[in-house]
Amino acid sequence: MEYSDKVMDYFMNPKNMGTMEEPDGVGEVGNPSCGDQMTIQIKVEDDRIVDIKFKTFGCAAAIATSSMVTELARNKTLDEALQLTNQEVEEELGGLPPIKRHCSLLAEEGLEAAIENYRSKQEGNS
């Protein structure tokens, strides 16, 4: 099984890794017993993702896809971000080995969960 150079780069030097003070939305997906778990935090201004952070427990593909999805979502409006697919994440990384495709799904779901969490909080406030 071989990873692309880009997967290895995002795995070894992940971008947007970490946590933030007072995030506007938090998405938590996966399960450690399945081998991967991911947390995404977003900061939203004028319906746009202005900051985004992640933490991931998982293999190289899980870490690389988490990092890539945060890169792709940054500065997008929430609706634009929701249109991001796991295929786009995969393509940006130069592909994934077939057995690792499910990892990119986790990244997509993590972002969706963070946006949903933000929106449900907004509804609660209005």
Binding site: M1, Y3, M8, F11, M12, P14, M17, G18, E28, P32, S33, C34, G35, D36, Q37, M38, T39, K55, T56, F57, G58, C59, A60, A61, A62, I63, I99, K100, H102
Partner: protein, 391 residues
């Protein structure tokens, strides 16, 4: 040193030793004859095969006619299990094995179930050991075979085969062991273990890939897997891999020499140094295995909050080769069946690394792992949402 390989995956395979390679060399071009042919160079090839058989027999403490050469350790396991099953169907239908066997045994047993045999898969304790009492309780009048590995490839736990062999002595069940991880690595004979069948593989002991052997105690009935010529006493048809067989013989001789010089103890010292060094520098570390009954080469550890493949790839980037029981390195989505059978929680099974040392490893190799791995673990824990921070 920065770019040189530090190989710590000897339970997966070993490099061919120079003296083994040298012994094999002539059998590719000069002495290429088919040993079944009647002319002189063929007789020489047959002679080389028999010399190798004697060397393997000496390593295992058996007669040379009790050795059957096979294409690999997996084939030896398959021949033992299927060969006994189909040879003894009149005597019974029940086979006993364990939950922590290598897939060569486990999948063979599962296939036997599909052929109508009844299988018992024994549990192990938290150190990976089978209890002889449990074997005794599982025995039935129609048990024809008990197959229990000598030492586990992932955690290195050595099984109490001698005790199990003793309680099987007056039973009809044959006793087979997969000794692929122990033959040539720890001293024993087939009489010590009281087994009827025992599988070995050349490439785990500095021999070539593509050759193994099955010890078959005289009088043990077996059906062949491969039908064809009269090779290997009618039990394994196919023109012999003479270069490979000569390599296995040379590897067996080398293993005896190394054991006589206590090379196993030197490896165990390095292994203990590695284990102690990592425990000293890394928190939330779990030992998997049995410190009193363990291969000298092996240490298996689980690193809480992080995943094995991620650690493995970071080590690989530094030229250090290890293996992991994580699902992500197995080509499936399942964590190690061995660690799970030992009761290791799934997330800790995903976060496991196996270091398996060999005779060529040095203190400098070990020190480099002790220097590098704590930083890798720290980095991955920073990325992990499960990590609560230093307590």
């Amino acid at each position: 040193m920065e770019n040189s390989l530090i190989y710590l995956d000897h339970n997966a395979t070993t490099p061919v030793a120079p003296e083994v390679l040298q012994a094999m060399q002539p059998f590719h071009r000069e002495q290429f004859a088919n040993p079944s042919s009647p002319y002189r160079i063929a007789t020489e090839a047959a002679q080389a095969r028999e010399t190798a058989r004697e060397a393997v027999a000496e390593l295992l403490g058996c007669k040379s006619q009790e050795i059957i050469f096979t294409g690999c350790g997996t084939e030896a396991d398959n021949l033992a299990i299927k060969g006994v099953g189909f040879a003894r169907r009149q005597q019974g239908n029940h086979i006993i094995t364990t939950k922590i066997e290598h897939h060569a045994v486990l999948k063979s047993c599962q296939w036997m179930e599909k052929q109508g045999f009844e299988l018992t898969y024994l549990d192990v304790d938290e150190t990976g050991r089978v209890s002889p009492e449990q074997v005794e309780r599982s025995l039935r009048d129609d048990t024809i075979l008990v197959t229990i590995m000598h030492a586990n490839n992932e955690v290195g736990t050595v099984q109490p085969l001698q005790e199990i062999g003793e309680l099987l002595a007056d039973k009809q069940a044959y006793f087979h062991t997969d000794a692929v991880q122990t033959a040539g690595k720890i001293p024993f004979t087939v009489e010590d273990l009281k087994v009827d069948l025992l599988s070995i593989s050349a490439h785990k002991i500095y021999g070539p890939k593509g050759v193994g052997a099955l010890y078959r105690r005289q009088g043990t009935t077996l059906q062949p897997l491969l039908h064809g010529g009269r090779h290997e006493n009618n039990l394994r048809a196919g023109t012999e891999n003479i270069a490979g067989i000569v390599g296995l013989g040379a590897a067996a001789r080398l293993a005896r020499k190394n054991l006589a010089e206590s090379a196993d103890k030197r490896v165990a010292e390095l292994r203990d140094r590695l284990e102690a060094g990592l425990f000293e520098k890394i928190t939330d570390l779990k030992f998997n295995g049995n410190r009193n009954h363990r291969l000298p080469t092996t240490v298996n550890l689980s690193f809480n909050y992080i995943e094995g493949e991620a650690m493995l790839l970071h080590l690989d980037a530094h030229g250090i080769a290890v293996s992991s029981g994580s699902a992500c390195t197995s080509g499936t989505l399942d964590a190690s069946h061995v660690l799970l059978a030992m009761g290791v929680p799934v997330e800790l099974a995903h976060g496991s690394l196996r270091f398996s040392l060999g005779y060529e490893n040095t203190e400098a190799d070990i020190q480099r792992v002790i220097d590098l791995l704590p930083g890798i673990v720290r980095k991955l824990r920073e990325i992990s949402p499960l990590y609560p921070g230093e307590q």
